[in-house]
Symmetry: C2
């Protein structure tokens, strides 16, 4: 992934609004991109334990929202990710949508397969890759797979694994405020402050253009943990059971319409709130 | 409270270890101070709906830990806070311990009463005031009383009220990681960045000396939100339902033994971890 991608990522914190009476802002954005260019929306449910139910649910929502061509990638296991059928379906996608489930299923079943290489090609040529919940967590180089919930950030409890690599330099956590995941995101950033931590609330998404900059959609908040300023961190293999001490992290909370530049690490205020302003 | 206090505050995030087989580090610290000088430990259960049960529980723990004189302040309502009996009990206290419950009960029932003035006097003359959960939240000038749990920080959902004023310039939230309260503490700091936000985990405490500096005790973490660097905040009465955007807050996570200087707003590493280091 050394070339600069021309595509878009829509990274969703889970439980995006699907109610016909609701705004459905995030899935409308996915729909708008799917119908662009007359190509198809391909749904990937490899993360899910109940792929048929999940596919049926999204099929119904996207049909209701007016997506013209909806395709189930049909990959449930690694051997299927090697079949020409899957690659052929992907070739005609304007949007690929990863459902929730278990992010390790995504990386272990499609990582380095012909399906994955086709996904990379699509993204580099301008397609949109969307993912919710586990599908969101799988986007970076390194994905968070486990960590303490509802307890402070123990160093030993953090699990990380190699992700899909569509958005290098970040670590993503979904269901963020809802599942009290602040400690684990902070711990992940402390492991290597080169990574920006992105906590994404439910029914909230970031739309990342060309891997450089994102805009916030949906009803919740995005928490950005920037470890650049961390002056002290107690992280050490000698101290696996200890509480992590971290001094001097920087934190931004972004709401609807706010933007963030991943290269300069600077937030920008939503334009419709008045004049533009940066930190 | 213009004079500089000579006393100590022990501010506990709730659910401190009370198990005879456990460490009970925090309550041992309370005990150590209670036995100093041969005075008494006075328990204040005005916050609780079940004061008798709560008093009985703490009486048992403190007796087991070796506190020599344990007294129930006996104040359950505002009229009792005006009685000489309560003030007389307090006069002989080396430690006053506020239990959990409802922090508005603490401020509304004893605020500005003779009992409260005696408490202030004690603290200024060197006594220890301890509080857990609601008893912790009530310590500052302004106390957090309500806010969203498990959802992002909505401006309208933050409730604040005037607290006891023993620790001006901070806002305290207890049960911090356990109840996913990051958003509401951040919102409270954004309301006025002059206040430092302190999120205290369960079974974790800060021991504040002379109102200037604290040390961390217990098994969890202390989250310090310093709003000094906030360059943009969307907080406005015009936007009560919006998600709060905050750019540029500073965050420290402190573990056992770490210290924090409230005047310079600088953390210091636990001494036993090696040489001292500041941010």
């Amino acid at each position: 992934m050394s070339r600069k991608p021309r595509g878009t990522l829509i990274i969703i914190g889970g439980h995006e609004d699907k109610d016909p009476r609701g705004e459905r802002e995030i899935l409308k954005e996915v729909t708008r991109r799917a119908n662009h260019g007359g190509k198809s929306l391909v749904i990937v449910a490899v993360a899910s334990q109940y792929p048929r139910e999940v596919i049926a649910e999204y099929h119904e929502v996207f049909e209701d929202l007016g997506v013209k061509r909806i395709v189930d990638l049909g990959v449930r296991s690694r051997d299927e990710a090697y079949q020409d059928e899957a690659v052929e379906k992907l070739r005609h996608a304007s949007v690929v949508f990863f459902t929730g489930g278990d992010q390790l299923r995504i990386s272990s079943q499609i990582g380095d397969s012909p399906t994955f290489r086709c996904l990379e090609e699509l993204y580099h040529n301008g397609a949109t890759i969307a993912g919710t919940s586990a599908g969101a967590a799988a986007m970076p180089d390194t994905m968070l797979i486990a960590g303490p919930r509802d307890s402070s950030n123990r160093i030993s409890a953090l699990g990380m694994a190699p992700g899909l690599g569509f958005l290098p330099g970040v670590v993503i956590d979904s269901h963020f405020a809802e599942r009290g995941r602040f400690g684990r995101l902070l711990g992940a950033v402390a492991q290597n402050p080169k990574n920006i931590g992105l906590g994404i609330d439910e029914d909230t998404a970031i739309v990342v253009e060309r891997g450089e900059r994102f805009t916030v959609l949906g009803s919740g908040a995005i928490y950005v943990v920037d470890g650049t300023g961390i002056g002290y961190s107690s992280l050490s293999e000698k101290n696996p059971e200890g509480v992590l001490s971290i001094f001097g992290a920087k934190l931004h909370v972004l709401g609807h319409g706010d933007r963030f530049d991943l290269l300069t690490r600077r937030p920008e205020v939503a334009v419709d709130d008045g004049e533009e302003q940066s930190e």
